[in-house]
Structure formats: structure tokens, C-alpha cells
Amino acid sequence: MDQLDFSLKYPFTATAKQALSESKLELNERIVELACERIKNAMREKKERTVERITIHESGKLEELAAFAASRMILGHMKNRFITNKFAVTESKRISAILETEDEKTVLEIGKELGMGEIFSSEKSGNGSETVKMKISTYLKFSPRALPYKLINRHLENGFVTISWQESIRLMEEAIRKRMMEIPIVKQPPEIIKKAVPLLIAEMPKQALPVTSFKEGDHPPCIEKLLDAARKHENLNHQARWYLAVYLLSIGLDIEKINAIYTNLPDYNERTTRYQLEHAKKRAYTVPSCASVTTYGFCVADCRIGNPINWHNRRDNNAGKR
């Protein structure tokens, strides 16, 4: 693969950084404009990828690469968790979609670059599907905290865990997201970077605030933790979203209010969220027991209440005693 094409696909790699520095390209208004577009696209979750539509000319490619660096500079200056999260999620999803089409060598190379190194060795399992072995410590760092990924449901041997090729790409997506979140603070950026800030602030969703109307301590610690993550615009996995929704529905919150909480999530999509919430409401799921919550990996305290919903009974009783 051409070095520049590789860099465009994987702009976080050392190869990309080198390509950019060798190009001696200076920051200019066109680059900042492209950078803003890239960030705005992430905020709107536009699926059309900057990389796919760009020119085949080398100068255009270099500009696009510089735009990635400039967008990180803008984010480093803004220090806005919401926008950074959106950017990280969108970029990691874009890159993992590309990874799925790559050959094994390239994928392993990217894995190495992401600190998942030596660990990868691919082999065909009995039924012909491809699996890879990964160090348990690496696996723990990058696997989603969701039931199917819990160690107890995995095969561990001598420090390694065996996972499917597909899952390894999912883990790389998480590693990329984490890498994208690590943005150095830029205190004194060039003037043209500063100018971009108000344009992006104007793009912030307007209704993302109602979640703060919850008082802390109103909910069991596991729910508080999820709400707090949502407040900070962190990403929640599907199971976390489901659990939070079932809990909030069962304490009588209406779909509007729950939806408002989910607008904080970096990959929020109104149609999907509403559909899922309405589905959950229709099915009238019961709140999972503390034992289940523990197996999902969401339990954070020893409340001894059996079911998260009992938090309110306990609180009310305590209030009565006082």
C-alpha cells in the first residue's frame, strides 16, 4: 500500500506522522476548514467519510492528513469532552470498518502500533473460523464491559485468551477510540485554530442538558456511575444503555426525559434511541437483580439490596427512621 494512502486510513500511526512531517506542509485556512468539517461530521455522525471522497492528487491527500492533525489541535484547545468523544467514536468506527477489509498483515501491524503487539497469532479453529490469541492483560484493557466479553465466558490459557478475528477488530476499535481520546492540551494555538472554536461550539446540540436535573444519591451507585458517564459524554455499551433504560423506565421516567439523557452519548442517534426506548417500554422489562448487574460488570458497591430498584425502598425507610 502506498505510504500516503496508508496514512490517510490510519492517521494516528507513526507512518502518518512521518508522512506529514516530511511533507513540510504549513497549516493554512484550507486545512483548518477541512479539520472543522471533519469534526462537524463527527458531531453529526455523517457516514460519508472525508477520506473516501477526496481527490486522488497527492496534494489533496496531504491536506487531508494535515486536517486530521489540525482537528486534534482544535480539540486539544477546546478541551470539550463531548466533541472529543464524538470525534473519537466516529474516527474509531471509520477505521474499524476499514480494518475489516484489510489483510491479516496490515491488521496485525495496526494492532502492534496500538500497543496490542506481539500478542497476535492467527490460527484456524476446528470449524474453519479464524481466531487470534491475545494477552489477557491487553484483552482486559480493550474489551467492552459486556457479558459476552467477561473472562468467565472465555477460554484462558497460560496468559492468553482466544478470540475471534471479528472480536479482535472490535477490540482494536476500542484501542483506537482510547488513543483518539488522548489529546494533548494546546494552550497557545495559532490564530486560525482559535477562530475555528466558535464555529464548532455553534454546532453543539442544544438539548443536551436535562440529565443534570438528577440529584446525586437519588439512585443506586451502579446507576449513578452510568448517569455520570452519560453526563461526561462517555460511550456506554449496549448492555449499559439497556440496563439504564430499564431502570429509568421502571422508576417512572418518561421516554422524553430518558432520551434527553441519551443525547449526551457520543454516538447518539435519535431514531434508534427512541425505537429502543419504546421497545423496552412495550416489553416492560423488569429491572435485573443485583446478581445479574454484577455479572454484567456494572456493580460498583456492596449495597445489599438484592435488586437496584430496592434502593428507593431503603432510602425511604431510612428517611422514615430519621
Binding site: 482486559l140 484462558l156 497460560n158 496468559g159
Partner: protein, 368 residues
């Protein structure tokens, strides 16, 4: 505790600390905490090296001394965020909670057995941790700590450590998932594949535990397996990964084997106190003294753990005797190869110093 007893205890402790050896890995990167009235009443202490630490203990002898499992750039900085966390040992706390004050000491063998299982079956076999990086430490009272000093696991965060603890405690373990079951024709099922005895992890442990149960107590699974021929055929099948060489339908078999699966996990690992997942936790310094017992929280090597007996090997090296009066009834207990008691409330006894001190610190006696 009366002042006289405190003074005596601290004198014994100070004498021990004069020559004690700790061998704390990266002592200069750890935060220390000491306690006199509770386990920790002041923390954020730091020491450049072991001699400084020892000198401090001799001069300001405390009842309890702990260090962080974490390594910090500035271990004595406050508040904690300014310490700059770098990494942390992976630590497990295994203990036994019992009703009476003294019951626990007869159960320490069971806890030790679990500690060895944790190291051998889980940490070494499953997690691939090297033997030399695993340190057993008697907690000084009701259990054991295991310290893992290995870079691979040192940088993982709290959630990841909780995940490891969940695995070891078997949270969410479902042995039925070990099997692939196929419906041959309506309502006729066959086990396509199952765990083999030579596999690692819970799968292998489960297969081996079933074989062991068949060999030792087959009737606990079913009376059918009391017949030598039926039993051997099943064992032979399991060894090959073929679980169909027995007369039960898959679901019936799985239910009969459930109790075996439930015993595979380590229940005595205590995660409530946050020892494993709290990456800023302080833990008793190995080879320091536990102020509630006067026993040494001894570090034990992998080679010595089998024969280690806390109430013999973790006793302070004292030669004299101590006169004490019991303030409550105390059951018979064996310390240092000698049986002591039972003792009645209000009786006075002259006992070996370490034994007398033990009862005083447990709050069952006072010096006379």
C-alpha cells in the same frame, strides 16, 4: 487495652523491627500508612529506602503498618491525585469470617489451601503469571494475601481488576456453556462436544473435577455410576471429550453435575474490601506485625507455603514468659507446637511471651 499492655506490646514490636527484613519491591515508590488505634490513622508517608523505613518503625513503633499496592512518582504527596499513580501490584485478599474469635485459627489451613489454588490453578495456569512474581503473605490474623508483582498486570485499571476477581470467584459461571448440544431429531439431543480434562481454564478444571468425583464419590452424581463398568466408561469418554458415554439426557446430566461446577470457583477471595480492585489501597507490609495478634504477616515463598503453619512459623521470636489474667473464656488453641487452654475467665497464667501477648492483643486477657 490497658496502657501497660500497649507499652509491653510496642516494646516487643520495636525489638523485632530492629533486625526485621522486609524486601519491599520499589519501597521508594510506595505510600505508607500507620495505625495505633485503628488499622490506619495516618497515611501519605514515604521512605527512600528500607533502612529509613526500619529506623522509623523502631523509633515510632506502630500497631499496624501498611503500604500502597500502587507505585507513585511522589508517594508522600497529598492529596492523592498529586502522587502521580504509575502502576500497582495485583493483590488478592483471602480470609475466613467466623462466628467466634478463635474459630478462625483452625480454619487457616483451608484458607491456605485456597491461596495455593488461586496461585497454581488461576494465576499461573490461566493468567500465565510467572511463579517468581507471586508472593504469599500471611495476613497476620485471619487469612492470606497474594501479591503479584508483574508488569503485564501492573498497569491495568480498577475495572479490569474487578473482572479478574469476578473470574476467580466464578461470577456468572455457567457450566452448560461448556457443551455444544445438537438436536438429532425432535426432542432427541446429543452432546456434540464438551470440555476435555487436558484443557486449561474452567473447562479443564470442570472435566477433571467430574472425573475425580466419579473416582471418589460417584454416587453423589448418581447411583448409576456406582457400577464400576458404567463409571469407567464415562471417565474414559470425558478424557476424550465425549460426554455421551453415559445413560443420561444432556439436560439431566448437566443438572447432576451442577454442584461440581459450583465448587470450582474460589469463594474465600474477599472482594468486598476492595483489595483487588482499589488501585490506591494500602495493604499490610509483608513481614510487619499485626497489632491485633502479635503475629508476623510473614512473606512465604512458593516453595515453603505447603508446610507453612501461621501459629508456629509467624510467632515473634521471644524466649521469656508473660503473666496474664483472662478477662473472658478462651477455647483450647495450639500455638508453637503446644496446646494451650482452654482458659476460664478470671484465671491467671504464666505463658510463653508470644502466647501471652497473643491473648492480650486479642482482647481476652490483661497483664498482671
Amino acid at each position: 487495652m490497658q496502657e501497660k499492655d500497649r507499652t509491653t506490646a510496642l516494646k516487643y514490636f520495636a525489638d523485632y523491627y530492629q533486625t526485621a527484613s522486609f524486601d519491599i519491591p520499589y519501597v521508594e515508590k510506595r505510600e505508607f500508612g500507620i495505625g495505633n488505634w485503628k488499622k490506619i490513622d495516618s497515611r501519605h508517608l514515604g521512605f527512600a529506602n528500607e533502612p529509613d523505613f526500619r529506623a522509623y518503625l523502631v523509633k515510632n513503633t506502630p500497631f499496624f503498618v501498611s503500604h500502597s499496592t500502587a507505585y507513585y512518582k511522589y508517594p508522600d504527596a497529598t492529596p492523592i491525585d498529586k502522587k502521580n499513580w504509575e502502576k500497582a501490584d495485583l493483590v488478592f485478599d483471602l480470609d475466613f469470617h467466623s462466628e467466634g474469635k478463635y474459630d478462625v485459627y483452625s480454619k487457616l489451613g483451608q484458607v491456605k489451601h485456597d491461596a495455593i489454588r488461586l496461585a497454581e490453578e488461576f494465576l499461573i495456569s490461566d493468567f500465565g503469571i510467572s511463579k517468581k512474581n507471586i508472593h504469599y503473605v500471611f495476613s497476620g490474623n485471619r487469612g492470606y494475601h497474594i501479591h503479584v508483582v508483574e508488569d503485564d498486570f501492573a498497569t491495568i485499571g480498577s475495572d479490569e481488576r474487578r473482572e479478574i476477581a469476578d473470574y476467580i470467584m466464578g461470577r456468572g459461571l455457567d457450566h452448560i456453556k461448556f457443551f455444544d448440544v445438537k438436536e438429532l431429531r425432535p426432542k432427541v439431543f446429543k452432546i456434540e462436544s464438551g470440555p476435555r480434562a487436558d484443557e486449561s481454564g474452567y473447562r479443564g478444571r470442570f472435566a477433571r473435577a467430574v472425573i475425580e468425583m466419579l473416582q471418589n464419590k460417584p454416587s453423589d452424581i448418581s447411583r448409576t455410576f456406582s457400577k464400576e463398568e458404567v463409571k469407567n466408561r464415562f471417565i474414559e469418554g470425558i478424557r476424550e471429550g465425549n460426554w455421551n458415554k453415559q445413560p443420561y439426557k444432556p439436560n439431566d446430566l448437566f443438572e447432576r453435575l451442577r454442584p461440581i461446577a459450583e465448587r470450582l470457583a474460589l469463594r474465600s477471595v474477599d472482594t468486598d474490601a476492595g483489595v483487588t480492585h482499589d488501585i490506591k489501597k494500602l495493604i499490610r507490609v509483608p513481614n510487619s506485625i499485626h497489632g491485633d495478634t502479635g503475629l508476623i504477616a510473614k512473606r512465604v515463598t512458593v516453595g515453603d507455603i505447603e508446610k507453612f503453619e501461621p501459629l508456629h512459623d509467624a510467632i515473634l521470636p521471644l524466649k521469656g514468659t508473660l503473666k496474664i489474667k483472662f478477662t473472658e473464656d478462651v477455647p483450647e488453641i495450639s500455638i508453637h507446637n503446644e496446646t494451650h487452654g482452654p482458659f476460664k475467665k478470671e484465671t491467671e497464667n504464666e505463658l510463653p511471651e508470644a502466647v501471652g501477648l497473643f491473648f492480650v492483643l486479642r482482647g481476652s486477657a490483661i497483664q498482671v
